[in-house]
Structure formats: C-alpha cells, structure tokens
C-alpha cells in the first residue's frame, strides 16, 4: 500500500513539468498525495489538514527553481517545512544550576518509560554524571523489580521503598537520598496512565508540584495512531511537558504521531528509542524523521546530492550520448565513479524508492565491494572493447578476466549489468526528454 502511494507521489512529482511559477493546480495535485502519505503515516487528520493548507498558501505563486520540476519543488517545500516543525526548537535536557537535575518520565501504559529511564541513565553515566533511578510505578506488577534489573544492567542505583503505596512520597524521599549520596541527576520512572484517567493525571500533576522536575519528558510509542493528539494535549495541559522521547523507532512504523505530538505540545524530540537493549537511545534527526513520515526515502537528498556531485557539463555530454545511444563501457565506468562519489552505496540505494525493483540487474554492480572489481574489469579492456562491447567474444572475455584478476563469470556478469544499465538509462533518457528536463541520466524517473 505504501509502495503504491509512494509510486503515485513519485509519478506525480515528475509528471508536472515546465512553467515559471507554481500554479494552484500543480500544488493541489501534489498536496493531495502528500496528505494521503501523512495519513498513512498516522499523522493526525486535523494536523495533516492544517499542515497541507499552510504549505499550499506558501507554495502557490512561488518561482520554480532551475533545478527542480514543479512537483519536486512542492515536495521539497513539504519536506523542508516538516523538518522545520520537527527540529525547530533547541533539543537538549535542561540541567539544573544547582544539582541534582530532576527528570520525570511520563506517558501511557507500555510506551517505554522504564526502559528509556535506564537508557538515559546509561547515557548520562557515559558523560560522567551519577544518575539515580527512582521507582514510582507502584501499580504495574513487578515494575519496581523491572527498574532494578535494568538499573543493574546499566550500573545505576535504583531508589525504591518496599511496601510503599504513595508514588509522590517515594519521589520526595528519593530527592533527599540523592542529595545525601551526591547524585547529580534523578530520573523518576512514573507509572503508565491513560490520559483520560483524571484521577491518575491529577496524581501526576501533584507529583510535578512536589518534586519540581527540571524536565518532564513525555515518552511516546512511534506506533501511536490518531489518538496521539488527544494524548499529548492532555499530558501537556494537566502535567506540562518539556520534551519528548519517541520509542520503538526500530520497527517499521512511519511515525506520523511524532508530528502530531510536536504540533500539539510545541516541544522538541530529545531522543529516540531504537531497540529493547539499553544502548538503543539515539539523537533525533528531524530530516530523517520527515522523510520517514513522508515515506519517500531521501529522494530530495538524493536529488540534491546528484546535482552537487555530478558535474553539469559532464552530465550534458552524457545526455547527448544517450540520445544517440552511444553509451559505452567508458561512460558506465564514469557513472559508477560519480555514483560512488555520492556516498556509501547502500545508503544511496535506501534513498531511491523503488530502485530495488527497477534496477535489479544493477544490484551487483552497485555493491560497494564489487565496484572495485568492475573498474578493474573495464580497465582491462581495450578502448575498442569499451566503445563496442558487442565485439567482446569468448577469448576476449578470458583475456579480460585474467588481466583484471577476476573470473569469466565476473566479466559476463558485468557485461550483462551494463546491458541492463543501458536499457534503464535509455528509458530514463527518453522519459526525461519527453519531460524536456534532465541533464543527469541517473536521476531516477
């Protein structure tokens, strides 16, 4: 389903061509797909609508830049705005002038608070701090033991009071203990609660008032759906939130809830959880998150990188050759080299939606390790052979294999890949010509 949507978006952004300014019709057609992409990603319905309306107002009438087709430009605007929203504010925990710094972790049931508390403790320890974990979840069976186990795993002491029934009293007592033992950070793990549970939400507010945390962190499951706005809105209104941590991003959820929650709370994402293990806490990258939510891979990054890296003149020359179907093995080698300049290949492939399917025959050629081999093979050919690969018969293949220290199979594979590439590039070339744009044959679609 995502694939289809992504494909449609891709098609639409490349079909829109020409013209000097973005027309309302162009913008509409792209934003319709963008809105669907956001909804598929679980961005809240109202948040998605408001977002798309804002983009529309900003986009219509804009000058189309030289490098991008109008459709691409709209998507680029969308992407930039998403990045701005997700990364707009400063992103760090606030440390107290006079220690200890108090951090309170809140959220719904099963969001990942306890695990995240231990992950934060591990991170703080690595930075030379001495965190104390505090077990105030007295509701979930064995929640205190759970914190003790993960605390032990990261080597952070855990404060708990056996038999206690009042979480606020436990939190208060932990502060005295922290001061006595010289802890400079106190991480309080609160019980999970439904935001609609007034009693427990009020308890959390009382907890806040009692311990005056420097950071109240809302832990949000990346798989959350439409309810994310109601949830975050309620935590923000009743308890007050300073920052967010998004968990379970190691799965395949598109994570639109992150946008919903950032919109509703106006608070930054501090970290993301990327695993059950206690080292699975990473800095947040707004650009990656934006691409993930849009479900487009890093298409835009790819376009930008391509434009930066591939010398415009060389690309024009290449295109000329393509039109005359003169693409040779020399050019193939050039292409592979430019592709290589753009960065690690698997990350590039990840940026190209649908590449796996379209260019299956190229998969071998763009594997980082075999690139060197490909170059060696091409280097062992005579200029004639590079220009007209069809003259490479059995005995030439043997010679080339020997000369490049590879096998005949390697040479065969390369020649096959070259044919595939030629076909693919020719198709792209034709498409680009029809679209009256394109100076870079490897621009995908």
């Amino acid at each position: 389903m995502f694939e289809a949507l992504q494909g449609r978006l891709q098609t639409i952004i490349t079909q829109l061509t020409g013209r000097g300014v973005l027309s309302e019709a162009d913008v509409d057609v792209v934003l319709r797909e963008v809105r669907l992409a956001l909804l598929e990603a679980d961005v809240n319905f109202k948040v998605a609508k408001a977002f798309v309306d804002r983009i529309k107002a900003a986009a219509v009438g804009q000058q189309v830049t030289k490098h991008l087709a109008p459709g691409q430009q709209v998507v680029k605007l969308v992407h930039e705005e998403l990045v701005r929203l997700l990364g707009g504010t400063a992103r760090d925990l606030r440390f107290a002038d006079r220690p200890p710094t108090i951090i309170l972790l809140v959220g719904v049931h099963g969001a990942g608070k306890t695990t995240t508390a231990a992950k934060l403790a591990a991170r703080l320890k690595r930075r030379g701090r001495q965190p104390l974990l505090v077990a105030t979840d007295l509701r979930r069976p064995a929640a205190v033991t759970q914190l003790q186990v993960v605390g032990e795993q990261v080597g952070a002491p855990v404060f708990s009071q056996p038999g206690a029934t009042d979480p606020i009293a436990v939190a208060r007592a932990s502060l005295r203990d922290a001061e006595r033992a010289g802890h400079d950070v106190v991480l309080i793990d609160a019980a999970g609660r439904q935001h609609a549970d007034d009693e427990l939400m009020t308890e959390l507010r009382a907890m806040r008032e009692a311990v005056q945390p420097h950071n109240v962190v809302l832990v949000v499951d990346a798989m959350t759906g439409q309810d994310a706005t109601a949830m975050a809105g309620r935590f923000q209104a009743v308890v007050g939130i300073d920052g967010l941590i998004v968990t379970k991003l190691d799965g395949d959820a598109r994570g639109g809830a992150v946008l919903s929650v950032v919109e509703v709370t106006g608070r930054p994402v501090l970290f993301v959880g990327t695993g059950e293990k206690l080292d699975g806490l990473e800095p947040f990258h707004p650009d990656r998150m934006a691409s993930r939510i849009l479900g487009m891979g890093d298409v835009l990054t790819l376009i930008e990188k391509a434009e930066e890296t591939i010398d415009a003149e060389a690309a024009a020359e290449m295109e000329r050759k393509l039109r005359r179907a003169e693409f040779t093995l020399d050019d193939f080698r050039e292409q592979l080299r430019s592709v290589r300049k753009m960065g690690p290949l698997d990350s590039l492939i990840g940026m190209i939606p649908g590449l796996a399917g379209r260019a299956a025959g190229l998969a071998g050629a763009v594997d980082e390790r075999s690139l060197g081999r490909v170059e060696a093979i091409i280097n062992s050919m005579t200029p004639d052979e590079r220009a007209r690969p069809d003259i490479i018969d059995g005995s030439r293949r043997r010679r080339i294999a020997r000369g490049s220290g590879t096998s005949i199979q390697d040479v065969n594979r390369l020649l096959k890949q070259f044919e595939e590439a030629k076909k693919l590039i020719k198709r792209v070339g034709e498409f680009e010509r029809k679209g009256k744009r394109g100076k870079f044959p490897f621009r995908l679609q």
Binding site: V108, A142, T145, Q146, L147, V149, M223, Q226, G251, R254
Partner: protein, 297 residues
C-alpha cells in the same frame, strides 16, 4: 456485561456520536460523506478501508437521507468485522499463546483471562515464556498469585520454547484445562525474534497436536496503521487465530481492527478495558459498532 462494555467504550462513543450527530443534521451531500470519512480516519480505520466503506455506502440505493446513512454505515462495518468469534478452547486440554509487539498488554491480558477462565471452574496453568524482558517472569508470577493459578517458570534468559515444552508436560501431568503462554514482546520486523516465535509455535503444534490451540495477537487500541503490518507478519509467521484489542478504556478507538478484519480476515476475540482482573470482555462486533455508532440517536 453489555453495560460494562458500553461504559468502557463510552468515551469513544461520545466523541464519534457528537461528530456524527452534527453530520446527520445536514442534508445528504458530498460534505456528509467527507465528514464520515474523516470520522472513520480519526478512529484509526485508515484511508484505504475508510474509502472502501464509503464506496459501499455510496453504492447503496437505500441511503437517501442523512438518517439512513447511520444504519447503513453500521451494517457495512458489521459486515467487514464478521461474526463474533468466541475463544476455542474446548474440549480441554487447550493452549493459548499470547503474541504481540512490545508493551501492548500481553501479560496483563493473560492475568485477566486466567482469572476469567478460573472463575468458570477451569484449571489454568501459565507458562512464563517471556524470558527476555526485565522482570517479565516476576510480573506474570504476580498475576498467577492474584488469580490463584499455577505457573511454570525458568530462569531469565532461558529458552522460551523449553519453558513451553515443560509447561505442556505439566499440563498433562496435572490435568490442566487451559495453558496460557506469555511471550516476549517483539517487533514484527525482527526476523530472528520471529524465528524464535515460530520455534515456540512448533513445540506447541507438535505437543498439542489435535488439541485446540489459540494464537492470540494482542494489539494496543491506540496503535495506528502499523497494526496492519503487525497482524500480517504475525499471521504469516504463526497463523494467528484471533486478536485481542487492549487498552480500549482510553480515548483511542481501535478502528484499525476493522481494516485488519477487512484485509486479513482475523477476528477480534477479546477486548481489554483496564488494568484489573475484571477488565476483559469477549468482543462482540455488534456492541463494538453500537459503541461507535449507537443505533438510536
């Protein structure tokens, strides 16, 4: 029972109904359909299923005014949800494996279900086959103690399939009616963890051949469209026999189960409406839809 469910779903219903009543006050127009579609999407039904529902609604000749839309919409959703599907655990002994991604409510559901079955006079045994998560075994043991049922447990880090194997041996030796196995939460994208799950499942399939076995996938009602991928992958791995929709006591609507029933034909069997022993209900599609779209305004 009916009242409890309605109470549990009251908030869900209020939000949806308020919206719907507004909509129904208008004449039947494109805006009515747009609003209905919006309401479905906001209930996590998802765009494709919401569109499918709306297409069916538009195709119905009997839908002429805003009033008749309500009844037709209910019927269409009911059709997608299919008939009520009760747990199949007779004749004893039977096994139930609880599955799902991290933190959805598997262990808690087991506690509640064990309680429910014990109260029916069944002899229940729990298998602590989440040997991975910190204190997961202790958590299940506390539920066993609350319910007053037996538990088979190994040390943390032990092979979960071995725990299940031992539990099945105990089931035979002690004339147990129902074995319920807890499993570690696992994201469906983790290939090695799904393989581990298949192994557990193979042990159950082999040792409980010709016995009733339920493989229940627990979903968190607040989960969005990712629940579809979860259901698809878990189904492919171990032939999920039913869903449990946990945490329906919040404001989340759990509409994604309509999409799952529609696309994957997995029935919802149980719903969770809280953290205590009594907060578990059999899923009744009619009540679920009634709670979303009450039959009388």
């Amino acid at each position: 029972m009916f009242d409890r469910l309605r109470a549990g779903l009251a908030r869900t219903r209020e939000a949806f109904t308020a919206r719907l009543d507004q909509v129904l006050a208008q004449p039947l127009s494109r805006a009515v359909f747009d609003e209905l579609e919006a309401a479905l999407i906001e209930a996590d039904v998802g765009v494709p299923t919401a569109s499918a529902i709306l297409d069916r609604l538009r195709a119905r000749r009997d839908v002429r005014d805003a009033r008749s839309v309500r009844g037709a919409l209910r019927e269409i959703i009911l059709e997608l949800l299919g008939e009520a599907a009760p747990l199949r655990i007779d004749p004893p002994p039977a096994a139930i494996i609880m599955l799902g991604v991290n933190g959805v409510g598997k262990t808690t559901t087991i506690g509640k279900l064990a309680h429910h079955l014990s109260r029916q006079g069944k002899r229940v045994l729990l298998a602590a086959a989440d040997t991975f998560r910190a204190a997961a075994i202790d958590q299940l043991a506390i539920w066993a103690q609350r319910v007053g049922c037996e538990i088979v447990r190994h040390a943390p880090g032990a092979d979960p399939a071995a725990v299940v194997f031992d539990a099945i041996a105990a089931l035979r030796a002690r004339a147990i009616d129902v074995l319920i196995a807890d499993t570690a939460g696992r994201l469906h994208t983790k290939v090695n963890l799904m393989e581990e799950l298949k192994k557990i499942n193979r042990v159950v399939a082999r040792e409980m051949a010709d016995r009733p076995v339920e493989r229940l996938l627990v979903l968190d009602a607040s989960t969005g469209q990712n629940a579809i991928a979860q259901a698809r992958t878990f189904k492919d791995a171990v032939e999920v026999t039913g869903l449990v929709l946990a945490k329906l006591d919040g404001t989340a609507k759990g509409g994604v189960v309509i999409a799952i029933a529609h696309e994957l034909a997995i029935p919802v069997k149980l719903i969770g409406t809280g953290e205590t022993l009594d907060d578990l209900q059999p899923f009744d599609p009619r009540q679920f839809v009634d709670a979303l779209l009450p039959p009388t305004p």
